[in-house]
């Protein structure tokens, strides 16, 4: 009985992920095994990091009486295998009709974020999990490849892993050995690719279920001596408040932790929200704000024990290799002046403030003297309270807390949203100045604005949406 149709695979990759090589392997494996096959692609401009698709069709019968006819385009509900190096690319194939109940889907589980997702000032990312769940239910079968876990993050092998999973899925009639031969025949990075290939074969065999979702958050416990304070808060809030206390103890000292608790207590006293949502929101944002990153803090973070080893790990440096680390600092007027008390801050030259001007440092943190310099700066914690930035930040924190407390007496939801508006206190330099100015404008004349809570709520909501959006979006 002759086969009714070719077996079709649609492969979705991003430019530079090696989709072309993968298709070469498939074509070679088909040739070796004696099945008629055809491949085609649309590289075009997509080779520059855009989405690229490849279509591979194989007729599952050797030496058919007539040559089978292959197509240049995938047809909807006519794809046996959708293989993607990125989960939303598999999802997009589904949107276009190329994943249906007849389709086996093999996809990398890790997201490669698109530009549109990256440029949002808030969280513009599309989560992988719902896409994978949708694919899993809509398709005939799903083989998920946790690529980073499998390859230790070495992306050049991803296409080999995918090839292995394709070979192992059994969708095509050629043997796994024919595929191994195809990799050997190509003669490029054979050992590495074969290693990836075997991992893919194994994954197709395992068909591991999608892992449980985790939030991936790591909470630090409270510093010693503050356990009793923590017990005064509902159990649900203890991890985040404990983490906040630990952050501030590390940032400054126990007195600073107590200042935080004093602030938080005044909010808690007014909090009638369900589960004390308001207190939780304020705790999280107040701690982040109170640990604002001035030059002392940055020096502290850059000289953290273990940082140099972490970076060695990123480069996969063996013990005998030498690490040369340069930190990119550009202390602007605000950072320098912020370090000094306000009666001295005026002395720091303002500079032109133009793009590309100012003082650029490529600081050699991996050298003993470079490290020592930062360490010295990090040890100046004691001076922080005298600095002009400290005064300004805490004045702003005070205005924000006043607004929250005032709102809490009128409308609890408004108070929670006001707490969230602290997102504007972020970044460095110009970004921070502009954000703080935006927040100031929002809080300006708060008491009068509270006269119309509905209008104010709309305004605060709007401000938060704006804070998360792409600030360049209005350019379109």
């Amino acid at each position: 009985m002759t086969a009714e149709r070719p077996v079709a695979a649609l492969i979705g990759a991003l430019g530079g992920q090696g989709g072309g090589v993968l298709v070469d392997w498939l074509v070679t494996a088909a040739e070796k095994s004696g099945y008629p096959a055809q491949a085609t692609s649309t590289p075009g401009v997509a080779q520059r990091t855009g989405a690229t698709t490849y279509l591979f069709e194989l007729f599952p019968e050797k030496n058919p009486a007539q040559p089978p006819l292959f197509a240049l385009f995938p047809g909807s509900d006519d794809i046996d295998l959708m293989a993607a190096l990125e989960p939303t690319e598999a999802g997009r194939a589904l949107e276009r009709g190329f994943v249906t109940a007849r389709t086996t889907v093999i996809t990398a589980t890790e997201r490669t974020y698109s530009t549109a997702e990256k440029v949002a000032a808030g969280d513009g990312t599309v989560p992988a999990r719902p896409v994978l769940d949708g694919l899993s239910q809509a398709s005939g079968d799903l083989i998920a490849l946790p690529m980073k876990e499998l390859t230790g993050g070495v992306s050049p092998q991803w296409n080999a892993v995918l090839f292995g999973a394709i070979a192992g899925s059994g969708v095509f009639p050629f043997s796994v050995d024919d595929c191994r031969d195809a990799i050997r025949g190509k003669g490029v990075a054979v050992d590495q690719n074969l290693k990836g290939f075997e991992q893919g074969v194994e994954q197709a065999r395992l068909k591991a279920p999608l892992p449980e979702e985790e939030d991936g958050l790591a909470y630090n416990g409270p510093p010693p001596g503050f356990e009793a304070e923590l017990d005064q808060y509902p159990e649900r809030l203890r991890p985040i408040i404990g983490h906040a206390l630990a952050r501030l103890a590390d940032y400054q000292d126990d007195a600073y932790v107590r200042l935080f608790l004093d602030h938080l207590r005044t909010v808690k006293a007014l909090d009638t929200s369900d589960n004390m949502t308001l207190t939780g929101e304020v705790a999280k944002r107040l701690a982040a704000w109170m640990s604002f990153e001035d030059v002392i803090r940055v020096a502290q973070l850059k000289t953290r024990p273990g940082r140099l080893d972490r970076i060695r790990g990123e480069l996969e440096l063996p013990d005998d290799a030498i690490l040369n680390l340069r930190d990119y600092f550009k202390p602007g007027h605000a950072e320098m002046a912020g370090f000094l008390p306000s009666w001295l801050a005026w002395m720091v030259p303002k500079g032109s403030g133009r793009a590309g001007s100012g003082w650029s440092l490529h600081w050699p943190t991996s050298s003993a003297w470079g490290f020592a310099g930062l360490k010295l700066l990090a040890g100046r914690k004691g001076f922080r309270r005298a600095g002009s930035q400290y005064g300004e930040e805490h004045a702003a924190i005070g205005r924000w807390l006043d607004a929250i407390r005032a709102a809490a007496t009128v409308d609890m939801d408004l108070a929670v949203q006001t707490a969230k508006a602290a997102i504007w206190a972020r970044g460095y330099g110009m970004v921070r100045r502009e954000g703080m100015a935006t927040l100031d404008r929002l809080l300006d004349g708060w008491t009068e604005k509270l006269g119309d809570p509905a209008a104010l709520k709309a305004k605060v909501d709007q401000s938060i949406i704006l804070a998360h959006a792409n600030p360049d979006a209005d350019i379109h």
């Binding site: 009714e4 520059r48 240049l72 249906t100 398709s139 140099l308 970076i311 990119y328």
Partner: protein, 726 residues
């Protein structure tokens, strides 16, 4: 700039990009099975047809032909006496065909269409008028539909207005190769150059055919034409030009029609007969067959009961063939991609004149324009079959179509339940480490300082600057035309004319239409040239300023010399990765109002090419135990506050996001992925825009000498004493 000083010729060492395997295949002899992508199979067909010369301008999807030929000098071109040129533009490539006007030499030229055809149009029109003696083939990559990088037009109209035959072959490798060879005969019997069109996917399609021996051309560098010929009737001047036009319609096109008819170039698959049928372009045939198979009306080998006529030559049509097919049919469906629907309207005209009572369907059931994919064709064919085909075809097609729709809708509903929002699209962008990225960061920063400016863009990778995250670039008009296209805009906005152009665009047309025009007219203009050393977007072909000829000999053409020759005095060359230098040069150029044309050359080699060359070198050095450094950038997760301002000035694929483990961080933080090539742009942006101190550059030194290692040990001990390690 001081005039007259010698400018050192910049030479890019072209990366290890070998086409030796392809060149070997092109030497296959009779009876061997040739397997490869269509574009390579067609190249082989040219050699089998005995071409004397080949030329072209690289552009996807035809670049591969040029790449392979440029590598084939010793093995194929020289021994066979074939001349080859990678031309400076499509106009230059088309001009090569002039050799076939007087002399019986076969020649082939190639480019991306419709854009390349536009550039070449002057030469093609003249050639079409004069006519040719030797077979002349214009191979065009029809860049229409998905993956295209150009405006959506087709070449069909061009073929019609110049009366040039247009071959649109059915996508079967034997057929494609056969028709490529026959195209030369068609050209010779009709004295017309012939267009041979391949769509993007068809160019990249793999397949096989049985090879023939390559044919040594009759006339070549090894066997010159006996003497130069003169014939006044071949000059495009009155009265000859009127005679040319008459000849086209009285002799040349009829000769083509006769050839097509006599040689069964168009194919008829009669099926089981019946009152219906499909007339399709050759290039759409495989879509029609796949659609029929999915609708239950064809098998996997293309056997079908539906009568089909395949037009492998879509211009000129052969009216008798078509009226014969339509006679005794109540209706036909014309499957013709794009608009205007020239074939459908001509067929309607034939039916009308012949008084044939056959309903003609086409654009009423198929999309008005756009690429015809399997899905779009299937929808149209299903509608035609349901409404006009006899039973059982109508019922089968209708129910199968609904079944497919149902399966697709079900899958989409399931996905939407989990993920209500549509998934993100991925427009193309600059590659990791691209040297063209910083100039757009610089422009965006300057616009923050002085408000929006109108920037005219050019063809090539540079055009990605007008996409997110940069949003720099207001118009694009053509290759090498950015400067010219800005001339009426700058003064109207009271700003200098500001144009961006790649080195490819500069040499293609920019030097004449842009630089000379601006200089001669004394325009207040700033031209930014992105010199990356190659025609990078089309696959790293060499350029006049690459320091090498297309086949690798030394060349001394430079951009500065060309500009100085025109009298341009204000030229600054900047290191593209040096952002402050770039910003300052741009600022100076913009502020030097009234000093004619100012040119900023942003200089650095295409990172793809550089990596292709340097990676194997480093791997080799590492293997041999020589000192090697490995660099990358990084972001300290604790320092990044997650506002993503760095992303909005960068867009690097390796600068990405990750979710922070710190519960106090609300938004994802920046991260540099392993694919980083340490161009340093992220660090430079953080500096120039005073964003944050999160970025660092980490360099690993492998196989260091004993002195360095000793210093390292001391350093490590000191660091350890300061608590640098856990």
């Amino acid at each position: 700039m001081d005039g007259g000083a010698a400018i050192p010729v910049k030479k890019v060492a072209v990366g290890d990009r070998s086409f030796a395997e392809e060149v070997r295949k092109l030497q296959m002899g009779a009876g061997e099975e040739f397997h490869g992508e269509t574009i390579l199979c067609v190249t082989k067909a040219l050699l089998q047809a005995g071409v004397s010369y080949i030329g072209g301008y690289p552009g996807a999807p035809m670049s591969h032909l040029i790449d392979v030929m440029a590598d084939a000098k010793n093995e194929i071109l020289d021994p066979m006496g074939i001349q080859f040129e990678q031309s400076a533009s499509e106009a230059a490539a088309a001009s090569l065909l002039s050799a076939s006007i007087h002399y019986p030499m076969r020649g082939a030229v190639t480019w991306k269409s419709v854009v390349g055809t536009n550039v070449a149009s002057d030469a093609i029109s003249n050639l079409a008028s004069t006519g040719v003696t030797g077979g002349s083939l214009i191979l065009i990559g029809e860049d229409y539909g998905e993956g295209s990088s150009i405006m959506q037009e087709r070449t069909h109209a061009f073929a019609m207005k110049s009366s040039l035959p247009l071959i649109d072959p059915r996508y079967d490798m034997e057929k494609i190769v056969d028709l490529t060879e026959r195209a030369f005969e068609m050209s010779e019997v009709s004295n017309l150059p012939v267009f041979f069109q391949l769509r993007i996917r068809a160019c990249h399609m793999t397949g096989s055919f049985v090879a023939k021996d390559n044919k040594v051309p009759r006339y070549s560098t090894r066997n010159p034409v006996p003497r130069a010929e003169y014939d006044m009737t071949k000059i495009v001047l009155p009265p000859a030009s009127y005679a040319h036009e008459k000849h086209k319609f009285e002799a040349r096109l009829p000769a083509i029609r006769e050839y097509v008819r006599e040689n069964d170039i168009n194919e008829i698959f009669p099926g089981a007969g019946g009152p219906f049928g499909i007339i399709t372009q050759g290039g759409a045939y495989s879509m029609v067959i796949r659609a029929l198979r999915q609708l239950g009306l064809a098998d996997a080998f293309g056997n079908t009961e539906v009568p089909i006529m395949v037009l492998n030559v879509v211009y000129p049509l052969v009216p008798e063939q078509i009226t014969e097919f339509m006679t005794a049919r109540e209706s036909v469906l014309v499957v013709e991609e794009g608009n205007p629907n020239f074939i459908e309207t001509q067929i309607a005209e034939y039916a009308h004149r012949a008084r044939i009572d056959c309903a003609i369907h086409g654009k009423d059931v198929l999309p008005m324009a756009g690429e015809y994919t399997v899905d779009t064709v299937r929808a149209g064919v299903a509608e035609y079959m349901s409404d006009f085909a006899p039973e059982p075809y109508a019922a089968t097609a209708g129910s199968r179509y609904q079944a497919t729709r149902g399966a697709v809708d079900t899958a989409n509903e399931i996905l939407r339940d989990h993920m209500p929002e549509p998934l993100p699209a991925r427009p193309p962008s600059f590659c990791t480490g691209c040297p063209e990225r910083p100039i757009f960061a610089a422009m965006k920063l300057l616009m923050r300082e002085r408000g929006p400016m109108h920037v005219s863009m050019d063809i090539g990778c540079n055009l990605f600057g007008s996409l997110p995250p940069f949003h720099v670039g207001n118009t694009v008009l053509g290759y090498g035309l950015s400067l010219a296209s800005g001339t009426m805009v700058g003064p109207a906005l009271d700003q200098p004319v500001i144009a961006v152009m790649g080195d490819g665009g500069f040499w293609h047309n920019g030097v004449s239409s842009g630089a000379i025009n601006a200089q001669w007219n004394n325009y207040d203009a700033v031209l930014v040239i992105l010199e990356n050393g190659y025609a990078a977007a089309t696959g790293h072909q060499r350029l006049p300023s690459s320091g090498e000829t297309p086949v690798g000999a030394a060349s001394e053409v430079t951009i500065e010399n060309a500009l100085k020759g025109l009298g341009v005095k204000w030229i600054k060359r900047v290191d593209s990765y040096d952002l402050p230098q770039t910003i300052n040069a741009l600022r100076d150029a913009l502020d030097a109002r009234g000093s004619q044309l100012r040119v900023v050359i942003s200089d650095n080699e295409c990172m793809l090419a550089r990596q292709r060359r340097e990676r194997p070198q480093k791997a080799q050095a590492m293997k041999e135990g020589r000192a090697v450094t490995q660099e990358r950038f990084g972001v300290d997760p604790e320092v990044c506050t997650g506002d993503h301002s760095c992303m909005r000035l960068n867009g690097c694929p390796s600068l990405s996001l990750k979710h922070s483990a710190d519960p106090l961080k609300e938004t994802p933080i920046a991260t540099v992925e392993d694919s980083c090539v340490a161009c340093g742009h992220c660090g430079e942006v953080a500096h120039a825009a005073q964003l944050c101190p999160s970025f660092y550059r980490a360099e690993g030194l492998f196989n260091a000498g004993p002195l360095r290692r000793m210093a390292h040990a001391v350093n490590k001990r000191l660091l350890s004493m300061m608590g640098a390690y856990e």
